[in-house]
């Protein structure tokens, strides 16, 4: 009988696990974008040789366990407070690299004040924002980013703008603040999208090295469990429904709002 060892050979390898990801089994639902986003951040830190100089802040949300998977020193923050925790770390160790990794509930609901003020102060950190339009962790409740008409467990008949408010474009909002230096919106559902996101994360860490202020990378992602769809279907749905409302691309580069996005910012 053929043994697994006969298959796992140098010449057959097409992919190796990112060095800075631990061997722990990812707790994410199969098909979820969180795992890919983790890998991208760790690859960049690895390729820049920053493992020993980086501190990550994990949120409360599905990625609360990011510290189980990212092989760097990490701090787990209270729900929404990652930017404040990051500020504490960065202000006392200005030469270290600090990033937060947060979901939409964490960053744009309970943590809105921290998000706005960390950006307004222009803390020299990197923020990775996973926007899946729902509270994945707690079983699929409505998030500030939930689209109009979208069904969640707390908007079972679809989000009604009149009683539940509008989907919040927090990224466009913070891009208006002078403290933000690089603001972009990306995705991780295709190899091409992954390459673009990785470039953005590289740029973010470069910005941090140059002490230019906040880099804010929104990653529009799926929550196949919360959306009650298959992974493939959820990615299709995301492209069809999330991308028109949360358009891909740079919003602010080198401290300047990107022209093509200005109209979008107003709307």
């Amino acid at each position: 009988m053929m043994d697994i060892k006969d298959i796992v050979k140098e010449e057959n390898l097409v992919y190796t696990k990112t060095k800075l990801m631990t061997d722990n089994i990812l707790s994410y639902c199969p098909g979820c974008g969180h795992g890919t986003a983790h890998r991208i951040v760790m690859e960049v830190i690895d390729e820049l040789g920053l493992q020993s100089q980086t501190v990550g802040i994990a949120p409360v949300g599905c990625s609360v366990l990011a510290y189980d998977f990212m092989n760097i020193d990490m701090i787990q923050a209270a729900h929404g407070r990652a930017p404040a925790v990051a500020t504490g770390v960065k202000r006392t160790m200005p030469d270290k690299y600090v990033f937060t990794y947060q979901g939409d509930g964490d960053l744009a609901a309970i943590g809105t004040a921290e998000t706005i003020h960390v950006c307004n102060r222009g803390e020299n950190i990197t923020m990775i924002f996973i926007n899946n339009g729902i509270y994945g962790m707690t079983g699929g409740q409505m998030a500030p980013t939930t689209l109009e008409g979208m069904k969640t467990s707390t908007s079972p008949y679809g989000r009604d703008l009149k009683s539940m408010g509008n989907p919040l474009k927090i990224t466009e909002l913070i891009a208006q603040l002078p403290g933000t230096y690089y603001v972009t919106r990306q995705a991780v559902h295709t190899p091409a999208a992954v390459r673009k996101t990785k470039k953005a994360v590289f740029k973010a860490f470069e910005v941090q090295k140059e002490k230019k202020g906040i880099s804010f990378i929104e990653i529009v992602s799926n929550c196949n469990s919360g959306w009650k769809m298959s992974p493939v279907k959820s990615n299709e749905w995301m492209v069809e429904h999330m991308f028109p409302f949360y358009p891909m691309g740079d919003i602010k580069v080198d401290g300047e709002l990107v022209k093509s996005n200005k109209a979008e910012v107003k709307s």
Binding site: S27, C29, M137, S225
Partner: protein, 183 residues
Amino acid sequence: MTEEIIIAGFGGQGVLSMGKILAYSGIMQNQEVSWMPSYGPEMRGGTANVTVIVSDDRISSPVLNFYDTAIILNQQSMDKFEKTVKPGGLLLYDPNGIIHHPQRKDIKIFKIEAAKLSAEMGNTKIFNMVVLGAYLKLKPIVKLENVIRGLKKSIPERYHKLIPMNESALTKGMENPVEVFLN
């Protein structure tokens, strides 16, 4: 009469809803009931279990370490719950996917081929009702008519057309438990 039951298996097997139907059936005949699920992220595709108690008297603890009956639907649950059946109690299991079969000689052990039977009936969703039927054959703690009434209460009205299907699954289960003798 007090019957303390653990039902354990995979997330999608209908473990929790089977417990709920049983509990509702108890209410239909004026008994006290409690239904206590395992909850949390481990339920995402993982194991699920529920403790159901049906009693003529006020129910004390809704969580228990030992049970009159264990209904076991996967290997992890077998490993965890075989030892929790009280001496003289009942262990009912579906052998599908079970590698290490139960070994205890101080309890009654029955098999029900629910996965196979429900597949034969062309609807794997009624798997849990086949299991429930087998259980009620062995321990008729609630009357079939009350199970049907419980079923009506515990599923939304738009699914009531599926009740005859569930009823035949219950009957199928009642016809098929097989006692396992260890020696």
